[in-house]
Amino acid sequence: MVNWLHAAPATGAAFLASIVEAVEALTVVLAVGSIRGWRDTLAGAAAAAAVLLVICAVFGPALTLIPLHLVQVVVGGLLLLFGLRWLRKAILRSARILPLHDEDAAFAKIQAEMVPGARARFDAVAFAAAFKITMLEGVEVVFIVIAVAAGGPGLLIPASLGALAAVLIVVGLGFIVHRPLSRVPENTLKFIVGILLCAFGTFWVGEGIGIAWPFTDGAIFGLTIGYGALALGTAAAARPIMED
């Protein structure tokens, strides 16, 4: 039986992170499909999704065979590095040191790169482009789901459901509007997700190396506040440095 109060942070983090990744993948798939045709583009995306499902089916159960503290150190450590990289980039974007991510611009750029293909039986360019982006963003989603669920065996299903809901929502909206979801506040979401991933990563690594966190699981909330304050403060402090 899933304790949803306990699982809510992992589900929420997986949901938000998966929205960001799914929006990025959708932009490329739409750009490729609109120029090169839909059949092989969608086949490429579907093939990558199938490979990702196999990875989940293999690595998901295998994780339960490894001692929990080892999973927490290794997966938590990777999640911490992943989260720090993500949060650093989000802070730099918020401070206008790096340009903000623009889905419309990304869509236009990929469309410009995709020369319309001749009518062939199989469009390898469209298939490969859609396969690659779905695989790249999908691997990140799979990693995030596995990593935020590293705290306990009961967290894998709620985190997976969070990610699945995000992907279904984004794909559904993409199917309806047929253009990039540039209205999704992607940069803000990345900022929030970076904070959450750092909080989870720090917590799991700490548990794995034997730290007894104050307030046990409640420490994740404290870490989220801490990283949030740090990120906002650092972004505000970095802006004047950039303007000098």
Binding site: R85, A95, P214, T234
Partner: protein
């Protein structure tokens, strides 16, 4: 090594490491805190200590990038 394998490794590496200095500092700090816990440092205090070290590494990394002129 075939190009496609090195491309996969590059993608995997870039998934976790953007600023090498930040990644190394974070990993080293985790090791320092782990050693402190093993040597008997009060475990309840080491959580905030772990956070503060990681937060400092992140701030330094952002500050360094902000001062770069490109």
């Amino acid at each position: 090594m075939p190009r496609w394998i090195s491309a996969i490794f590059k993608e995997l590496w870039s998934l976790f490491v953007d600023d090498f200095g930040l990644a190394v500092s974070a990993a080293l700090w985790v090791v320092v805190v782990w050693l402190a816990v093993r040597l008997g440092a009060p475990s309840g205090v080491m959580g905030p200590v772990l956070f503060l070290g990681l937060a400092t590494a992140l701030m330094i990394s952002v500050g360094r990038r902000a001062r770069r002129k490109d």
